[in-house]
Symmetry: C2
């Protein structure tokens, strides 16, 4: 295993320490328990909190800041955070108007956020939870009852974060997040496996001409192990899988072409070119796009595609100023 | 070779097409000859133009936009652009106040930008050129007389771009770029080799426990092939090489910890943590930092460290609004 780390047991802690130092103008990283908050909370605003296993950076800690998340609880690599840091993050994010949890659908995450919500309720903090399950690849998987939550999460965190920033109430935000979850769909393709620091071994083995279609963000099996193909063909297959689930003919959409961690920008733009071409072909309008590595799986190589249908209101929330470590515009 | 591409001969063209589509609100990509300009030029402003071989994205095309570059000429993979696209980019960037070339020190780039400058002069366009040679690893190399230009280029493009945007004249900008070049120093470390699409083979071979210390951004040999070590040790050695060249005790600095293309964010933050700790130890002040993959080498794994000393004026130029595909704040 060749990775830029010291002791694998210190990997998450070291990375968070560097993250805290690099972005001290945006976030604060707390220890015991470990969670990340934006530097300045907005009084009276609903707190938006997320979290989950580490190894998917910049998700979620890189999206803490003005206009997106108020706090995030990162677990160990591919490991759900316990209720303790989630509860601590909740207390800080609660500014009198309650807290919304955005939770990717993995059994551990769902359970631990549920427990934290119960504990928060006992302290008088109103919590609503929306579970994100945007991955069309499989109906159930190793860590999941139902579909997995993957890269579409970023789109939801941005839009819901903007709505919270403009002052929407807890129920309205939960409704918005639910509506977005119903509309966003994703699928991922791995052309190279990640190596988990603790084991030092690749999560799965691919032959030189093999890829995993429908990969999960922890290296979980997808729909099929198939042959490597030109980028346009992979993009087509990914897009078709997403469109099979929700057709987008004539729809206005936001498109995310996401890198899995070890895939350089030029390759992602090759994929995006084809996705855009095909969406035009069915009369869909790409209103906004994101191309980059936003929800990674350690050093996995590959990409995912996420589509979200939008209207004028959602677009204005998307365009609203945001200032986080990984997504920033308008300020 | 497993890459997200179609025909290797179409790789750069496909990636640029996707880039153009994804960032149509910021850039325009011209074909025959191929170059990239910002969407709206500022009348009367000095044009700032860069370019070089592709495969280093987001450098340079991802830094075209308000407050940074006016145009960039991307060559084929690791191949200098010819004078033709550089000249075409120069004509568009020239808004009556002349054009500044920021050129990384590689023989092909230097020659082709020189030829373009001569052709531009014949058309009455005043051009000044500053050659960037921030890599302390080696004094000369395969493609270079003198030191190579590497990731420090981003810091120069940002600061000089901001000075051009505020209205500085051509000579003042050339002086500023020269002063920055004298201050910025970098070194790179590869823990995994890149694969060039045309050959389908890795640029060099590393044993499982080997790294290349002082790697070039085209996979050129560095100072030494040495054993893999913990991240803190690699960070220490890289920082020492940079500080041996210019000590920074008590200096105010901007620090760039740059990913080489296949290295995920968490590993870069592990490196940054140590760099920050060591700089504090010598009484240097990190005024600003950038941690991410800004100057890549296709899918090479590893990092580079760049340091630039700054004062209040340079910091205000750094903080000035910028809106490019890859670097954006304040707007």
């Amino acid at each position: 295993m060749k990775k830029l780390l010291n002791d694998p047991r210190r990997f998450v802690a070291d990375a968070l320490a560097g993250f805290a130092e690099a972005h001290a103008d945006i976030v604060r990283v707390q220890s015991s328990p470990v969670f990340v908050t934006r530097l300045r909370m907005s009084a009276g605003k609903v707190g938006v909190v997320s979290g989950g296993g580490s190894g998917h950076e910049p998700l979620h800690v890189g999206f803490v800041g003005h206009g997106m998340l108020d706090a995030a609880a990162p677990g160990e690599i591919f490991t759900s955070p316990t209720p303790d840091p989630i509860l601590a993050a909740t207390r800080e994010a609660h500014q009198g108007a309650g807290v919304l949890y955005l939770v990717k659908n993995y059994t551990g995450d769902v359970l631990n956020f549920e427990t934290a919500a119960e504990l928060a309720a006992m302290e008088g903090i109103a919590v609503r939870t929306v579970v994100i399950d945007d991955d069309v690849a499989v109906q159930n998987s190793e860590f999941t009852a139902g579909r997995r939550g993957v890269a579409g999460t970023v789109l939801i965190e941005k839009i819901v974060g903007a709505a919270a920033e403009r002052g929407d109430g807890l129920d309205a935000l939960a409704d918005l997040a639910t509506r977005l979850t119903a509309s966003v769909r994703s699928i991922g393709v791995a052309i190279g496996a990640p190596t988990v620091p603790h084991s030092g071994k690749q999560s799965f083995e691919l032959a030189p001409d093999e890829i995993e279609f429908g990969i999960g963000i922890h290296g979980e099996r997808g729909r099929a192990r198939v042959g490597m193909a030109p980028a346009d063909e992979l993009a087509d297959r990914a897009l078709e899988a997403v469109l099979d689930d929700i057709p987008r003919e004539g729809e206005r959409t936001i498109v995310l072409v996401n890198g899995m961690g070890a895939t350089p920008p030029a390759e992602l733009y090759v994929v995006y070119r084809r996705i855009a071409e095909r969406l035009r072909g069915i009369g869909a309008h790409i209103e906004r796009s994101l191309v980059g590595s936003y929800v990674t799986s350690l050093d996995m190589a590959g990409f995912s595609v996420s589509l979200l249908s939008v209207d004028d209101e959602l677009l204005s929330l998307w365009d609203a100023p945001v200032r986080t470590a990984a997504l920033r515009w308008g300020m």
